[in-house]
Amino acid sequence: MAAEEHAVAAEEHGGPEHFSSLHGPVNSAWEATGLGDMTGIDEIPDHVVMGLFVAALVATLFIPFGRGMSLERPRGLQQMLEMVVLGLRNLIDDVVGHGASKRFMPMIGSFAMFIFLCNITGSLFFLQPPTQNTNTTFALSLTACAYYHWQGLRKRGIGYFKHLLGPIPALFILFIPLEIITHVARALSLGLRLFGNIYGEHLAATVFFSMAPILVPFPMMALGLFGSVLQAFIFCMLTLVYIAGAEAEEH
């Protein structure tokens, strides 16, 4: 009962239970098409709406931009994005090994751009970050985990599963549960870290916003911008560390 009361209180204060301004139009369009009755989905949740919006934003911004770039006269945005791509490439080469950036750049770059733009939408008052919902963050973390297992399998073949047995062959029965817990905890911590940071920052900014809508929440929002960059970076870096661990012959 107390939980419900607080949820209602948070909603009245403009808390995280508020919907983004995209939620209403998208859902009325969804009702108008009549697909809701056919598929049994009455309402599209806000984090799905926002996640699709960010995905469309990434696609419409960056794909035409990559085709239209100029080698002779790079413009401002192109130089900025080149810096980002160069930084990511250096990170991959440092963590996984030289020459690895060509293989992992598509996945890691997508993670970086998507997570960064997801986090940054929390700073706009009429949008809600999709990453403040555990469904989004666990989708991302499970994708990352499936990806590093797949990369390990591709590099080392069926021998990849040998690392589950641990370093001492005689004690494999003790190591199997430990290694399984390690892999589950990686997925859990990747998802929960992103969720907790973004949700916490957004909640704190909302509390400051409810005190005074101008000037007071600005320091918190600046911290949120910093946190958005940092969380996207940490997600990519941890994924790379796991890939490097999966590809290494010995731990």
Partner: protein
């Protein structure tokens, strides 16, 4: 220094434990009105933040002194530092998630 911290913590604990029956005597409704979820959330995040801050402070101080000794290793030190900070922070974030759950916000 350590002894002082322990004494302050003990005093706080005693004050907390002894204050609840006093409050219960003053109010006729008793302990039923205390929202233990909020109280637990506050203590959880306070203890977790204290521990995490101590750990992160040690990590940053070691990283800065290592950086001062050997500025050439800046890249490696920064990598290890950010990785360690992320892993320490994730423990505090677990406590935050539990605290949010206890406060009924999530």
């Amino acid at each position: 220094m350590n002894k002082r911290v322990v004494i302050i913590a003990l005093i706080a604990l005693v004050a907390l434990v002894s204050s609840t029956p006093v409050l219960a005597q003053e109010e006729s409704s008793g302990l039923g009105d205390v929202d233990w979820g909020i109280l637990g959330a506050a203590f959880a995040i306070a203890i977790a933040a204290a521990g995490g801050a101590g750990g992160q402070g040690r990590a940053v101080s070691s990283a800065v002194s290592a950086l001062a000794r050997n500025p050439g290793a800046a890249g490696d030190i920064r990598f290890a530092l950010i990785l360690g900070l992320a892993l320490i922070e994730s423990l505090v974030i677990y406590a935050l998630v539990i605290a949010l759950r206890g406060a009924g916000l999530f």
